[in-house]
């Protein structure tokens, strides 16, 4: 997917237009806080116009000045939301271009070479079988039932290198809108028009399907309650001040304009204006990480995850085992063993085989030899023998698992030395895979194949642990090997000899304890576990079943991404919480600005509360309103970017954020309002 900068001028221009469009009361009504501001803006505009006719409750410039800044407050909130949506919209446009309506060759019989009818891709239904040939676009999501081809998926993933897709196994799913570069595929359609992956993706990035997440709903309730409290506190000030004027016998009751200004300043407009932007930006950050969340709920749940199930291979260890040592049998030198091992591996193109050759070269300078020149005969691995090797000059070198080699040497009249047996056990205990090498009926020794734990992963897990997230390694290895790797990688727990059933059971057990479980998966056999997990990230390379069972798809198919996803989820919640605290803490200073100003004529002694020494009652009220509007703009970058996540304990994080957004939120507006007041007074506007 193409990436664009957040403050791309094109996006900003679009957002500015949208901010005005979003003034629609039906849109504003979804957000109680901003709706109150909108009503206030309209109300003060009417009062201002009335003042222009000479019958106003206060001078027209003052009322209209307040009114103008109230409108700005609404617009700034709209702008924040539009900015958050902007990048998604741009991406949706790009995606839409790939959603071309292509003609599909619908097969009459589900096999290659059958006769076909050409129909529009939009008319395909679930279960139809189509053939796609070189250069053609795949019309709809589907499962390959025959053939193999290289496919260009850049429209979806942004990755330009083609990928191989083939029938059977975990790489059998294809996405509509991608293109076959070579060969052909017979595909069974798995989605109806309008429900394809691409369609869902467009809807998601555009935010069209965005529903409020559970936490956002809860926060909205709290904000609405605060708004009602402030509505009461300001509305009752009118009767209170009428009473005060009657009693004091001087001054005028507080004007409706001032009450509206006070109300808007007090209600949590900062968070109210930025709330939806934060949610959209969270989804957007997922998208920038090339993760497609199927719902905002999933993103939010990611922040709550306490257990991560991580596949060993590819996530915790590098994909392949590597040879790390040669352990010779008694009477055999290490070089002899290495030489034989290298010969046995020369034709073995598996990564394990390559690593044996490399180790022999690094350790004993045994150079690569050409098997053809040597006249050697390669013996490939078969399921029956479970060994591979080479025959040359009458030598028969074999390597394989201990029991296979033992059977092999015994059949040739040899025996399996105790020393080698001990070495085999010791390697297994350390988490390695022992590979025994034999020449004829003589066992030469053992190659130590080791899982290489990814660099830095242990530190990453320690960070997660501090943040309260447990990691569980999933592996098909035996418990002994698994335990050793688990210890080396620093995971909290592991599941050895994992089967899909045991995985599912593990998730259920953890969930029953009240934990939220996240996992990644790609195979069809992962689907039940993915469906059960709270946060389930399917690899884009995975099968259709896995993608449908998950609630997120990782377009990069990178299992380590899960960690990033958790952080994005947390960031979204933290940003909301911090801005709510900030918004409420701001009110203290606003009271100090507005209360003495509002009652200056009735109770001049209240000017003792004017601790900021604001120039005049009018400038005090206007400054508070302006500060209230500008702080929204100032915080848009923070809302879009999210608060930086730190892997520290909850208590430390709370302390830090209370200090910055709580204490900072109390202090900052004193300075801000004062500066604005000085500017207003300096310009002679009030």
């Amino acid at each position: 997917m193409s990436k664009s900068a957040r403050f791309d001028p094109h996006i900003v221009r679009g957002a500015l237009m949208d901010s005005v469009r979003k003034l629609d009361p039906r849109h504003q009504a979804k957000n109680p806080v901003m709706f109150v501001v909108l009503v206030g803006s309209v109300f003060t505009t009417v009062l201002g116009l009335q003042a222009l006719t000479g019958r106003g409750e206060a001078p027209a410039p003052f009322i209209l000045g307040i009114s103008l800044w109230l409108w700005f407050t609404v617009l700034f909130g709209n702008f924040a939301e539009a900015m958050a949506e902007g990048r998604g919209k741009a991406q949706a446009d790009t995606l839409r271009k790939s959603r071309r309506d292509v003609n599909a060759k619908r097969l009459d019989e589900p096999r290659y070479g059958s006769s076909y009818t050409t129909v529009s891709g939009a008319l395909l239904h679930k279960g139809d079988v189509v053939v796609v040939e070189t250069g053609e676009f795949i019309p709809m999501d589907g499962e390959i039932i025959e053939g193999a081809a290289s496919v260009d998926e850049s429209a979806i993933t942004g990755e330009s290198a083609p990928v191989i897709r083939e029938s059977g196994g975990d790489r059998s799913s294809v996405t509509g809108g991608t293109r076959v570069l070579s060969d052909w595929l017979v595909i069974r359609v798995t989605a109806e028009a309008g429900e394809s992956f691409l369609e869902r993706m467009i809807a998601m990035v555009e935010g069209a399907k965005r529903q409020k997440t559970p936490n956002e709903i809860a926060l909205n309730i709290l904000l609405a309650a605060l708004t009602i409290v402030f509505l009461m506190a300001t509305a009752t000030l009118l009767p209170f001040s009428i009473f005060a004027v009657n009693e004091a016998g001087k001054g005028q009751p507080v004007t409706v304009t001032v009450l509206v200004a006070l109300l808007v300043c007090l209600i949590p407009t900062t968070i109210g204006a930025l709330l939806s932007a934060i949610g959209i930006a969270g989804m957007d950050r997922m998208l920038q990480a090339n993760v497609l969340a199927m719902s905002g709920r999933a993103v939010e749940a990611a922040g709550d995850v306490d257990v991560l199930l991580l596949d060993k291979t590819g996530t915790i260890t590098l994909g392949n085992r590597q040879a790390t040592a040669f352990v010779p049998a008694d009477g055999v030198s290490e070089t002899q063993l290495a030489d034989a091992a290298q010969l046995a591996s020369l034709a073995d193109e598996t990564p394990e085989g390559r690593s044996v050759v490399i180790l022999a070269k690094e350790k004993f300078q045994i150079r690569e030899r050409d098997l053809h020149q040597l006249g050697a005969h390669f013996v490939p691995f078969t399921a029956r023998t479970r060994m591979s090797g080479v025959d040359l000059d009458g030598r028969q070198i074999r390597k394989g698992a201990a029991d296979s080699i033992e059977a092999y040497v015994t059949s040739l009249g040899g025996s399996f030395p105790t020393g080698v047996r001990q070495a085999v056990e010791s390697i297994a205990r350390q988490g390695g895979t022992p590979l025994v090498v034999a020449e004829g009926n003589r066992v030469l020794g053992v190659i130590h194949l080791k899982d290489i734990v990814k660099g830095g992963i242990k530190e990453r897990f320690a960070e997660l642990r501090r943040a309260g997230i447990k990691t569980i390694m999933i592996t098909g290895d035996n418990p002994l090997t698994a335990a050793a790797i688990a210890a080396e990688a620093g995971v909290d727990d592991f599941l050895a000899e994992a089967t899909p059933e045991r995985k599912l059971q593990l998730i259920r057990e953890r969930q029953a304890e009240g934990r939220l479980v996240a996992m990644t998966g790609d195979g069809t056999n992962d689907a039940p576990a993915l469906a059960q997990a709270d946060v389930a990230v399917a690899m884009n390379t995975g099968t259709q079943a896995a993608k449908e069972a998950g609630n997120m798809v990782d377009l990069d198919s990178n299992p380590t991404k899960l960690i990033e996803i958790v952080q994005i989820g947390k960031q979204m919640l933290m940003t909301r919480g911090a801005l709510t605290t900030f918004s409420t803490a701001n009110d203290v200073a606003k009271y100090f600005a507005i209360i003495p100003a509002a009652f200056a004529t009735t109770y001049p002694q209240l000017s003792a509360l004017n601790v900021m020494h604001l120039a005049s009652p009018e400038s005090a009220i206007l400054s508070a309103v302006i500060f209230n509007a500008l702080i929204i703009v100032a915080l848009i970058p923070l809302a879009l970017r999210g608060i930086q996540y730190r892997p520290v304990s909850a208590a430390d994080l709370l302390q830090r954020h209370l200090l910055i957004y709580g204490a900072g939120g109390v202090l900052l507006p004193f300075a801000g309002i004062k500066v604005i007041d000085m500017i207003l007074a300096g310009l002679g506007w009030v």
Binding site: A218, L222, F240, E300, K470, A651, L654
Partner: protein, 538 residues
């Protein structure tokens, strides 16, 4: 303040805190149903109640509301039929409907706002069968609700939050009755009267000395955070509160149960630290305000009893408004502006700093839920309190509970200051007059019942608006709290981990104190500015 004053305040706090743990543990054993008696079982058999039958929150709330409605009806009927009922040596007549309704709601809601003078209006029968009974059962109702809330937090995947009838009976039988009996006997030893005689004429004058069963009502009035005085001047009256010692034990009784309930709560949710944290938050708000109050009242003897002095009057004023007690031993109207502001502000905080029996603690837990919600967001995790996830439903209910009291106070005050009838009983003018009205509605709108004085509130308008305020402040807070209890009971408990925000640490206590203060300050600063703050700046 002198060293002696500080010592007295310190001694009071010390004794209070020493009582908290044993009483708290005892109350936990009662509310968990670990104590039983033949009397209790007999009562259940009589009423046809199975105390072990769990109730869903809706059934529990319905029982609570129905029982309280019966209480209102009973008191109202007694007041309206007073002239026909026995034990009326002075021959007092029936009360006006609006006055009777206000009193009935006032006592059923544990407010004990009094728009009447006891010795000049009510018969002994009314005081004993009407009001004292409500003093017991309204406090027991509060105990029941907080016990249900604690059970909701402690249980997992359960529909039941306990049995209201069992909670009501146990709270009355094993907590309120025994403590009241002890206190009443002690008060009699100090000279508080307890008789059913007619009023005694004073020789050579037209005056009479009022008589009556005062001690039995005074004891529960303090312990049950009711506060309704037997006599008009409440515990400033020598027959209600004759000595320094009676004063000490009465003011101790005001905070005793609300403070000890924190420990009970900790026990019931199986984490004692949680109870101590809530108590710490209460003490942290209480002590500074107490010290300021005592300091600003130094030298101001107007409206105070010579036998108590300023410090003990200040202590009482702060304790009675921190708890939703409302009894007085001095006239708050005569306090300095700041001295009047502090009690008013304590009520406006929603009666959660100790607060009423049960109601104070459940109010504080609601604030804890709000604080935990904000804190949870700030650390990037769906908030949880005691292992229970706080979600939209809990926030909705918590918001209602936080919202209702300030709305009642502000609207009630607003209606009174702009209507002739609302202003008719006002004694003082200007900002002080405003303070008097604001105080009255802060008191009713938070179920305190304390009177500032200076505002004759016995007219149809104030009786009705005040009655509505008291009603909503009690039931529209208790009902959402029960809803929260029911919803939390159904949830599973999330295990504690490093990602869990601990709710027993000083940091969280600080946050809780901050949440309580900021909601109170933000809602009431404008109103306070026009009353006591203006007075103070004059």
């Amino acid at each position: 303040m002198s060293g002696n004053d500080l010592t007295q305040l310190g001694f009071y706090l010390l004794v209070l805190l020493l009582c908290v743990k044993p009483l708290g543990n005892y109350m936990a054993s009662v509310l968990e149903g670990r104590r039983t008696s033949t009397l209790e079982r007999g009562l259940y058999r009589l009423a046809g109640v199975n105390p072990d039958q769990g109730m869903t929150w809706k059934v529990y709330a319905a029982a609570f509301l129905a029982f309280n409605a019966l209480g209102v009806l009973a008191v109202y009927s007694i007041l309206r039929l007073q002239h026909l009922l026995p034990l009326n040596p002075q021959g007092f007549g029936a009360l006006e409907p609006h006055t009777a309704l206000n009193i009935a709601i006032s006592f059923a809601t544990n407010t004990n706002w009094q728009n009447y003078g006891g010795e000049s209006t009510l018969s002994y029968f009314t005081q004993m069968v009407g009001l004292t009974v409500q003093n017991f059962v309204s406090a027991a109702s509060g105990l029941a609700v907080v016990a249900a809330l604690a059970r909701g937090l402690a249980s997992k995947n359960s529909e039941s939050i306990g049995n209201f009838w069992a909670d009501l009976v146990r709270g009355t039988l094993y907590i309120l009755l025994p403590l009241s009996a002890i206190l009443a006997i002690f008060l009699v030893s100090q000279g508080v009267i307890q008789n059913l005689d007619g009023y005694v004429p004073v020789a050579d004058s037209k005056r009479v000395l009022p008589m009556g069963p005062a001690a039995s009502q005074v004891a529960i009035k303090q312990l049950g955070t009711n506060g309704g005085g037997f006599f008009n001047v409440n515990s400033a009256h020598p027959f209600e509160n004759p000595t320094a010692l009676s004063n000490f034990f009465q003011v101790l009784s005001i905070l005793l149960i609300p403070a000890a309930l924190c420990v009970t709560f900790g026990r019931m949710v199986n984490d004692n630290r949680q109870g101590w944290a809530l108590l710490a938050a209460m003490v942290l708000i209480f002590v500074p305000l107490l010290l300021i109050e005592a300091q600003v009242e130094v030298g101001n003897m107007e409206g105070k009893e010579v036998r108590f002095g300023t410090t003990n009057s200040a202590l009482w004023a702060v304790a009675t408004t921190a708890a939703s007690n409302g009894s007085v031993n001095a006239m708050h109207d005569s306090f300095t502006p700041i001295g009047g502001l502090i009690p008013m502000f304590l009520m406006q905080l929603g009666e959660v700093v100790f607060g009423g029996v049960g109601s104070g603690l459940y109010g504080m837990v609601v604030f804890a839920i709000i604080a935990v919600f904000l804190a949870g967001l700030m650390v990037g995790r769906t908030p949880e309190y005691l292992g229970k996830k706080i979600e939209a439903f809990e926030m909705k209910m918590a918001s209602i509970a936080i919202l209702v009291p300030p709305v009642c106070v502000l609207l009630g005050t607003a209606i009174s200051v702009v209507t002739p009838m609302g202003l008719s009983g006002l004694q003082d003018r200007g900002a002080h007059g405003f303070s008097e009205i604001l105080y009255a509605f802060s008191s009713m709108g938070n179920n305190n019942g304390s009177a500032f004085g200076g505002y004759g509130a016995n007219n149809p308008l104030v009786n009705l608006t005040g009655g509505v305020a008291m009603f909503f402040a009690r039931y529209w807070v208790a009902w959402p709290v029960l809803a929260i209890a029911g919803s939390l009971a159904r949830k599973k408990t999330v295990p504690v981990g490093p990602g869990t925000l601990p709710t027993h640490t000083p940091l969280f206590v600080g946050l809780l104190v901050g949440a309580v203060l900021i909601v109170g300050v933000l809602a009431f600063i404008p109103a306070l500015a026009l009353g006591p703050i203006v007075e103070a700046l004059q």
